[in-house]
């Protein structure tokens, strides 16, 4: 039996499962299409903004801090993926592998510490920091 064929014999329950899930979702989407009521009042087509006509659209330039998350994610999640590979093979690679992984983790932690010191992990606004510092903590 070829590799592909064995893959199919092995994986077909998963494929069947996913097909059934998609089928179920289609049913859930189709059901209301046929069963649901239809109504169109004057304000039905307006976006919800607490009952007031909105100013400007929701498609606007997202402030920069949000992109920071994306960058941190890319950095740390990619690094984490390397660790996955090490984790599953930790016995095979032995102490040599451990030391290499340790160096890797330490570098990651140093990078995290650097970001921390830089204030990149503190998303509070200026006023939030100031007011929090000004109050007496109990």
């Amino acid at each position: 039996m070829s590799y592909g064929a064995s893959l199919i014999t092995h994986l077909w329950p998963l494929v069947l499962f996913l097909v059934l899930v998609i089928g179920l979702i289609s049913l859930m989407l189709a059901g209301p299409y046929f069963l649901g009521s239809r109504r169109n009042a004057r304000a039905t087509g307006e976006p919800y903004e607490c009952g007031i006509v909105p100013v400007g659209s929701a498609q606007y330039h997202v402030p920069i801090p949000f992109y920071l998350f994306a960058i941190f994610f890319v950095i740390f999640d990619l690094e984490a993926v390397f660790l996955f590979a090490w984790a599953v093979a930790v016995r095979e690679t032995g102490w040599a592998g451990f030391i290499e992984a340790l160096v890797f983790i330490v570098i990651l932690l140093v990078a995290l510490l650097y970001l921390w010191r830089l204030g990149a992990l503190d998303w509070r606004t200026f006023r939030q920091k100031r007011d929090r510092a000004s109050v007496l903590l109990r």
Partner: protein
């Protein structure tokens, strides 16, 4: 008791005379008016009023640091104005001095053909909303006002509701209808215009988002709207917008008889129940010259404190809920329900019993009234520590509220903040202690204070106030005086029913008061009280008729909401919710 009350009132009028004398030294042209409530009242002119007010705030020592209220009276059809300068519309400024423990009233006459007066929003920032309200209600123009836009009334409204010629009933107006094109116009008028408020659409590096928080939003506690200028999650600026709950309670006062207006007061701060009746009946009693018995005073104090607990319960539960804690409100509502049952046993009503009467209360206490109350106090002594550890000691809640919405005492006074919001800054001023009314001087209780003036302290102060109110109620239980539940006075409304069948005098009064209502002697009176949310008062002007000539309701929530931008700038959206939750307001109390 009566002797001490008399002495203290004599003392206050002596102090009052002192202020007026000081003021007359600087401004000899001022005209003094004697009012029945012993509140020093002087008439200034349009030209001099700014100097007078500035002098009262900064020139005198100690000064009047808070603008307590600013309103107007349409005087055009008022008959009893003897000794007062000619005026069509009178602007009334009411100031409060915490050092003197007293108020002062400054009046300015304006003529119908020239309704202009200089703004004082540069002297007190909280004058801003009061002046806008006056402009809506009377059409008085405040020159140089920074934001002269409608506040309470819709921008599309024609006429000024509190002018005497404006109809008070819907039946005097065109039948209401809302065709599509009018609805579109109304909606368009509500659209937020950033340029009008001096906001730009773009910052240095980002676009700002303008977000309407409310009027239809789960955490604005009613129909309240804040337009937020956002940079990501950070609030750049905020513009609160009110008026969605405006029912014209002040106008109603001019149409309802003195007695039949009582239920309307319950619905102003609708969580305060009979506590709303108190400033109203006390002001009327002052004008009518009714002295109520100690029993009446104690019953009034007891029920007022019951409602203070009810209001603070709701505050505390929703406060926890608004920062995302789901359960406390359900536990608290069980207690609240118990208290409502007790209130129902005593008054027959639950949230709005309208139970106080001119010259007393509606009925005497029922037999065995104290049993359930004692049980309740015992239960609360057990439950309060749970609530403290569940909510106030929760670390996430502290993270969310400590250092959020901070203001100091001076800022609070500038903005007219009273009640728990003021005491959370550590300022020890509670009307019940400083200017006792209705016999509060006879009770032993503490005034809880905060330190930081942040959202957490505001919750903490109110939580402690519940415990103090329990103490007061307990003292009422132990020392309830004997005596009549209604004063023996011709203007007591309604007179004791059981006596109507015995003597003709009472029968006549009963008939007259029930049909036309009592005619309260001409005069003016205002008796502020420490209500659930801060200082609340009814400034009543009687023209000797069966209805009030002018009913001005000064509510604490109105002033508190005005401060929201101050607290929110530079914080995040989530903080706005915590701040709003910590203010403790109801929209009916704001819009009236």
């Amino acid at each position: 008791m009566t002797a001490t009350t008399l002495a203290s009132s004599r003392g206050s009028s002596a102090r009052a005379a002192g202020v007026v004398a000081d003021l007359l030294k600087v401004f000899p042209d001022l005209q003094v008016q004697n009012t029945i409530d012993d509140m020093p009242t002087v008439w200034a002119t349009r030209e001099s009023v700014r100097q007078v007010l500035a002098c009262l705030k900064r020139g005198l020592s100690p000064g009047y640091s808070m603008l307590y209220d600013l309103t107007a009276i349409d005087e055009r059809v008022r008959a009893n104005r003897r000794g007062q300068p000619a005026s069509d519309f009178t602007v009334v400024y009411q100031l409060l001095s915490f050092e003197r423990n007293g108020f002062i009233r400054i009046k300015v006459p304006l003529r119908d053909n020239d309704l202009h007066i200089e703004t004082i929003s540069d002297i007190w920032p909280n004058a801003n909303w009061y002046e806008r309200e006056c402009r809506d209600m009377f059409g008085i123009c405040f020159d140089n006002h920074p934001t002269p836009y409608p506040l309470i009334m819709p921008a599309t409204w024609h006429g000024h509701p509190l002018r005497k010629e404006h109809p008070a009933r819907a039946t005097e107006m065109e039948p209401f209808s809302l065709p599509d094109e009018i609805q579109d116009q109304e909606q368009e008028a509500l659209r937020f215009d950033p340029a009008k408020w001096g906001m730009t659409r773009h910052g240095d590096s980002t676009d700002f988002m303008f977000l309407n928080l409310g009027p239809n939003h789960p955490s604005v506690h009613g129909v309240f709207r804040v337009a937020l200028q956002l940079d990501g999650e950070e609030i750049v600026d905020a513009v609160p917008d009110i008026g969605y709950h405006h029912r014209g309670a002040e106008k109603m006062g001019e149409r309802q008889a003195w007695h039949s207006y009582m239920p309307y007061t319950d619905r102003v701060d609708y969580l305060g129940g009979v506590m709303n009746n108190l400033p109203y009946v006390m002001a009327i009693e002052k004008m009518a010259g009714i002295e109520v018995s100690d029993r009446v005073k104690t019953i009034r104090v007891m029920l007022s404190e019951c409602f203070r607990i009810q209001s603070h319960f709701l505050f505390f539960g929703t406060f926890a809920q608004d920062v995302g804690q789901m359960s406390p409100i359900f536990y608290i509502f069980t207690d609240r329900e118990m208290m409502f049952n007790i209130i129902e046993t005593i008054t027959g009503g639950r949230m709005h019993p309208s139970w106080f009467r001119i010259g007393g209360v509606a009925q005497d206490l029922p037999r065995g009234w104290d049993i359930k109350l004692r049980e309740f106090i015992k239960r609360m002594r057990k439950n309060m520590p749970h609530y403290r550890s569940m909510v106030l000691n929760n670390r996430i809640l502290k993270q969310r509220t400590v250092g959020v919405g901070v203001y100091d005492t001076a800022t609070a006074i500038e903005w007219g903040v009273t009640g728990g919001g003021l005491r959370a800054t550590g300022f020890n001023w509670d009307m019940r202690k400083q200017i006792p009314y209705s016999g509060y001087q006879n009770f032993d209780f503490d005034i809880p204070l905060g330190i930081n003036g942040d959202a957490y302290d505001r919750a903490l102060v109110r939580f402690e106030e519940i415990i103090q109110s329990l103490r007061i109620i307990e003292q009422c239980l132990d020392h309830m005086p004997e005596g009549p539940y209604k004063a023996d006075h011709p203007l007591t409304t309604p007179p004791p029913k059981e006596r109507t069948m015995r003597d003709i005098e009472t029968l006549i009064h009963h008939f007259v008061h029930e049909s036309w209502g009592p005619a309260i002697p001409a005069g003016e009176a205002c008796t502020p009280i420490e209500a659930t949310k801060g200082l609340n008062s009814y400034y009543l002007v009687s023209d000797g008729n069966t209805t009030s000539y002018r009913t001005r309701i000064r509510t604490p929530s109105f002033a508190h909401l005005q401060m929201i931008p101050e607290m929110c700038r530079g914080m995040m959206v989530a903080d706005v919710i915590a701040i709003i939750a910590s203010i403790d307001f109801v929209m009916a109390d704001v819009d009236r």
